[in-house]
Amino acid sequence: MAVLSKSTSPTTPQKPQDITILEAHQIASLVQEKALTINEVLDAFDKRIVQYRDELNCILYYQKDELQNQILSVQKALDNGIALPLAGVPIFVKDNICVQGMPMTCGSKVLGDYLSPFDAVAIKKLKEAGAIIMGKTNLDEFAMGSSNETSVFGPVKNPWNKLCVPGGSSGGSAAAVAARFSPVSIGSDTGGSIRQPASFCGIVGHKPAYGRISRFGLVSYASSLDQIGPFAFSVRDAALVSSVMSGDDIGGDNYGEIFDTTADAQNLGFLGLFDQFEYRSHLSGLNGKLRVGFVEEFNGTGISSAVKENLQNVRKLLQDNGVICEDVSIPSLKYAISAYYIIATSEASSNLSRFDGIRYGKREPKNAKTGDESLESVYVKSRSLGFGEEVKQRIMLGAFSLSSGYIDAYYAKANKVRTKIKMEFDAIFKDYDVLISATVPTSAFKIGEKINDPIAMYQSDLCTTSANLAGIAGISVPSGFDTNGLPIGCQLLASPEKEETMLAASCLIEELLNIKGASYASC
């Protein structure tokens, strides 16, 4: 495990012997100042990819020789004197987000040999900022899972311990950063799918407030919950990448006005705040001290003693540094998992109806047993053979919640619970800037340990689903290790209006714990 010294200076770092230990903003500075070439950067990461790719199974698509056009385009912009915040920064992308010309599988058989004909808005913005999109990462099929075990391409291994899961559903993206295949990767978070794997893999995972980043080009799982976000070594990098991806999108379903995000996000100043690393001045600019609530409902039954102890340590450090820390209760959070799974599967049953073997993906032309070649048979066979068991189970559960006779008892009630949770968050955020909890009740569990127990698997999402239900911002920051040396993360939550404060508080925790450099798994 490599341990870096803390960097608090905005100055450009010296070119190191090992480029893969650099953070994204450092790489961009070095490339911008011609101290590093883009090819040097990509070659350095390529060595690690070649060495560990098969072992970890986190990469689904990567063709180094196909990156030349992107490299030339970025180089041309740099040669013309254009400042690019992500100049030459390699980025892997979860395989449920469209990257033009690259395959997209969603970890499923049902999409066959699909090639994305366009870039997702978030990807387009990354490319415009100078990033090099390296390829696609493994994931739970259609982002449905908490362990990255439901992918048709097999499970991803955790770089910290290859017998363990990396978390899910964006486990491939998390493992890619932890293994230093790229300093940043992109995932999606519907109920914790960025924050949970970030915690398991010892890196930062940011789920911006709902709507801050366009969903255009993200394959929908549950549209009212889905959110694109970054994985990174540091909060500063995560904020930088989120800042680049946020903003207006005339083609997406999320309008800026709806959640007051896209338009204002451009002016939120994530970039400015972290460019000069002035998060302390942001915190000191608050009226009085930073006020943090520790969520009681996320610190009770089911939380491991190692995680509880770790969170207590974070609290003490904050208190010792003048932060006001108090226990808070949000009673309805105990219903969040149930409400989440009803709403998410209901939306999924509708969203995934588009995969019918007609317009794209794999078509099963006829029923092999009966010889039936009807349209109905094409639908049924294409879907039945294309989807995996977890996806089929969730589609059926969603159809059940929405079906006549059950909709009031399930879907409608779950939406009321969602509103109740939102109301309770609103009330708490009047008194506290940020809420803190564990990200996950435990550290990474063993591959296969929970795959046949849906309730145990759902419990992994205990602390994360409520942020998606309420549309608020969340982040997981590395906060320590358990006795087996597996990473533990702590989660910060904030209202969309206080997302910047949440990022600043995350920087404070990162600095106080001084474990940012230890986030690099040894593989």
Partner: protein, 129 residues
């Protein structure tokens, strides 16, 4: 979860019904596993019955208003629409119109992804002889 005071039982008939709704085949071999898993999940969701929903508007969760039914923050019920700091009217959904980004792509770019296409159309099995 109970419906009208009765515990929901996931049986073969319900699974077959859901299979028809979702266009998914459930083989006899798969049936026991589907029933058991869905029953476990549905039973787990029983706890929603215990959530105190007093103070929650009766129409919560159904405020998916289209653009022409703009709701102002002051008048709207506390729900997902209400956490905006904007004081101007807001809504949740865009108008149901074709986005420019889609029209930037030509038909051929979509058809190339189709399992079977003919001319400028997706090809499907004959429905009417």
């Amino acid at each position: 979860m109970s419906v009208s005071g009765k515990k929901v039982i996931i049986d073969d008939a319900l699974i077959h019904h859901l299979g028809r709704l979702t266009k998914l085949e459930v083989t006899p071999a798969q049936m026991p596993a589907y029933k058991a898993k869905l029953q476990t999940i549905v039973d787990y969701m029983d706890d929603l019955d215990n959530c105190d929903l007093s103070g929650v508007p009766t129409d919560a969760g159904s405020e998916m208003t289209p653009n022409d039914e703009i709701v102002s923050k002051e008048n709207s019920s506390p729900s997902l629409t209400s956490h905006t700091k904007l004081q101007r009217p807001s809504n949740r959904l865009r108008n149901d119109v074709i986005c420019k980004k889609y029209t930037d792509l030509n038909i051929e770019e979509f058809l190339v992804q189709a399992p079977t296409a003919t001319g400028t159309s997706f090809q499907v099995p004959k429905i009417i002889e």
